[in-house]
């Protein structure tokens, strides 16, 4: 028996949060992976801790999938209901774009149990989606389309009494994909302020994640139901392990991108929570035995999970392949010796930072956070923010002081050369057609005079130039009184000076911009996996793949489900 090594108590290296200049670059944000702090994981932890009960109240659906279903979620004294409508849709009408007018299924999350009047009202509006109107008794509006090939394949197998082919299930990962999930007052839905004091809805996007979780349940129930109608008594139900491999797909285009730019205080909170979690994991000493075991288990599963991550996009394929290599390198690095050394998780992070691709580095971040849940899960509670607080401009300072703020916190903005055509090549706009956000080529298409205010870097650079022409002791208020066109930029700079992770530090109108980097950043915070680019501005993902179903929440090791 070896003598236990006696280690002198070391002075712990203080672990700082990673610098905004590193974290807020779009290529890194666009390499983000889900973490324990992602919103759907927070939802599931709460669901289990509070023993939410989900009851299928109604399921009146015919052999074509047309009909109405209601699922009630009991959260303490409250009830939330998913009201689902199935439709029959001609194949040529099926599209994931905002310009669609019909869908395979449409949904609303209703506050309470809906009575017949409510269901009638919802039935008249929900299938019309954006063209309908909703009340504050509805929290979320959504719609989904079938993944036709897989849906039919699964239906066929189950109706003949067989389980569907696992490889096919894995390749797609969902029966249906949502193409929009709306909340916060859109089309008359309840304002977020009305519900944000309810603990279960206080976190970001909890109502939306709950809705998607229930939609997932609906899709599985639907295919089993249709199989029974088609195959009679010999029809099979999905085997539980296979059933868990169905998540909900999501098809996201540019519509989501402006959100990350329009909510700087919120973005700062999300990033701060994640970076704090990383810092805590790195700082941990000695590394907890449970954390080490978790890390190794998650890493081990990751080889298989990453190998199964399918995409048609050549660039992403290349990144995934490289990520697979990176995982093997982490495995070789993370030896027993590392784990008995000083701050082993920090050693692993520094190895990743020095040696791995961006996907690999950010995946390492996910693994480190995953392994240390006991010391980071509390950070999920701090990811919401009251944006009204950061809205007001402080006009009491001088132009000189403001200019110094710009230089100190937004230097990245005026390091770009906006005289260069490439730097100005794009413009964000909203199309008249179905009000769809789009990205145009400034010099090649009409419409730039109707540009949306997403060129933050350019506007901050213009502010800096204007401030340079002002007497340093002039008040900001006087400057803005005379030049109100700079209000937008001043607000951003003042927010940035207090919130280091509020700005994406890249030019959002550059010719080389990859909008999917913005989308992926937000979707990673939702808890998405299997990022599958369909162009530089369209991203497919899966949510809840592998997650326990309501009747499985009580089972033992469930919180590891993303790495199961």
């Amino acid at each position: 028996m070896r003598a236990k090594r006696v280690r002198a108590k070391p002075v712990l290296a203080a672990i700082e949060l990673r610098a905004p200049g590193i974290v807020m670059k779009l290529d890194r944000l666009g390499s983000a992976h889900q973490t324990r702090l992602s919103f759907l994981r927070t939802l599931l932890r709460r669901m289990r801790a509070e023993s939410w009960r989900i009851v299928r109240e109604r399921f009146d659906v015919d052999a074509k999938g047309v009909g109405t279903a209601v699922y009630a979620v009991h959260v303490g004294e409250r009830v939330y209901s998913l009201v689902a409508f199935g439709h029959e849709i001609a194949p040529e009408k099926r599209t994931d774009r905002v310009i669609a007018e019909e869908w395979d299924a449409t949904f609303a999350l209703h506050d309470g149990l809906p009575d017949e009047d409510a269901i009638d009202r919802l039935g008249a509006n929900v299938p019309r989606q954006e063209a309908g109107r909703y009340l504050a008794s509805e929290l979320v509006l959504a719609r989904a389309n079938r993944s036709v090939r897989l849906f039919d394949q699964v239906l066929s197998a189950l109706s003949q009494g067989r389980q569907p082919d696992a490889a096919s299930v894995e390749a797609t990962g969902y029966l249906m994909r949502t193409t929009a999930v709306y909340g916060n007052g859109k089309f008359g839905l309840a304002d977020r302020d009305l519900i944000k004091d309810r603990p279960e809805l206080a976190g970001p996007f909890q109502a939306e994640m709950l809705t998607v979780y229930l939609i997932r349940l609906f899709t599985v129930d639907l295919v089993e139901h249709l199989a029974r109608l088609r195959g009679g008594p010999r029809a099979a139900r999905l085997d539980p392990a296979l059933r868990r491999r169905f998540g909900i797909g999501n098809s996201t285009g540019l519509g989501m991108a402006p959100f990350m730019v329009r909510h700087p205080a919120l973005l700062d909170r999300w990033i701060t929570a994640r970076e704090t979690a990383l810092a805590r994991a790195r700082h941990r000493e000695p590394a907890d035995e449970g954390a080490i075991t978790s890390f190794r288990a998650a890493l081990k599963s990751s080889h298989r999970l990453v190998a199964a991550w399918a995409t048609q996009d050549i660039e992403q394929e290349r990144r995934i392949s490289r990520l697979g290599e990176d995982l093997r390198r982490i495995e070789r690095f993370a030896t027993d010796e590392i784990f008995v050394g000083r701050q082993p998780f920090d050693a692993i992070y520094r190895f990743a930072e020095a040696e791995l691709s961006l996907e690999g580095q950010e995946y390492a971040v996910t693994l480190l956070i995953e392994a240390n849940g006991d010391i980071v899960d509390d950070l999920a509670a701090g990811m919401a923010v009251d944006e009204a607080i950061s809205f007001c401009i402080d006009g009491s300072g001088t132009c000189g002081e403001l200019r110094r703020l710009v230089e100190e916190h937004c230097a990245w903005a005026f390091e770009l050369d906006f005289a260069d055509r490439e730097a100005n090549a794009r413009f964000w706009y909203v199309s008249e057609e179905k009000l769809e956000p789009r990205l145009g080529e400034r010099f090649d298409e009409p419409g730039m005079e109707r540009e949306q205010p997403l060129a933050v870097a350019r506007d901050i650079a213009a502010l800096e130039a204007a401030l340079a022409a002002e007497p340093a002791d002039r008040s900001v208020a006087a400057f803005l009184l005379a030049q109100p066109q700079h209000r937008h930029a001043v607000r951003r700079v003042q927010i940035a000076s207090r919130r280091p992770y509020s700005e994406i530090r890249d030019n959002l109108i550059d010719a080389r911009l990859r909008p999917i980097d913005i989308l992926r950043c937000k979707l990673a915070f939702f808890g998405a996996t299997r990022f599958d680019p369909r162009s530089d501005r369209w991203l497919r993902i899966t949510l809840f793949q592998g997650a326990p179903f309501p009747d499985e929440l009580e089972s033992g090791d469930w919180d590891r489900w993303p790495f199961a």
Partner: protein
């Protein structure tokens, strides 16, 4: 417009904010000012005060093009026949906080000054109660609430005021200020909402085949 004008609809505060943001921009305001207009409109709506008429009135007359002039503690239009924009003036008041001018001269739709004069709370400071007064009405502003004296003062909705006074609230309130609950939806005349959407539409770019194919979607068919 006939029957549409008299139909009512229920909108959320968020819809008011996002619609007014784009409407103000569509009417010609810079985005930074449009953000202020949007906040002001939804703040008034939250307080149960009329917001559509003054807001549309401002969009129609475009007074934000008139640069305000600060003359000691008075804010006034640069020329004798002009009127101040309550959004542009309000933003200035909000920026200065407690150092705001005491008198705002010749301003359109003074009710729109309310959200800007309200004490700020949060990251910057918690400021004491203030008052705005014009033409026989006094509005006391405390964090999140307003008290209007007299309660049914018609000049509250006036299209213009020659002089608006801004000062610390004079009379100590007796007891707790009544907090108004957040409305679960705001009633709006459909005709007025349509007018706002008319301005909003000026920010949209008409589609072309090129933009439809290239601007938003997947490279190829997205169904499988």
């Amino acid at each position: 417009m006939g029957s549409l004008a008299f139909r009512l609809m229920i909108v959320s505060l968020n819809e008011i904010e996002t619609t007014v943001l784009k409407a103000a921009r569509g009417a010609g305001m810079e985005w930074g000012l449009a953000e202020e207009a949007a906040r002001a409109a939804s703040s008034l709506a939250r307080l149960g005060l009329a917001w559509e008429t003054p807001l549309l009135g401002v969009l129609e007359s475009a007074p934000w093009r008139t640069p305000p002039v600060l003359d000691g503690m008075r804010l006034r239009p640069g020329s004798a026949d002009a009127w101040l924009c309550p959004i542009r003036s309000g933003a200035f008041i909000s920026d200065l906080g407690e150092d705001a001018p005491a008198i705002i001269e010749r301003v359109l739709f003074p009710i729109l000054l309310l959200p800007f004069a309200a004490p700020r709370q949060g990251e910057l400071a918690r400021e004491p109660a203030r008052e705005l007064a014009w033409d026989g009405v006094t509005v006391r502003l405390e964090a999140g609430t307003v008290a209007i004296a007299p309660p049914r003062a018609r000049s509250l909705d006036a299209a213009r005021a020659d002089e608006v006074a801004l000062r610390p609230a004079r009379i100590a309130r007796k007891g707790e200020a009544p907090q108004r609950g957040l409305p679960a939806g705001v009633v709006v005349a459909a005709g007025r909402w349509a007018e706002l959407q008319g301005y909003e539409a000026r920010t949209y770019v008409p589609a072309s085949t090129k933009s439809r194919l290239r601007g938003a979607g997947p490279a190829s068919s997205d169904n499988d």
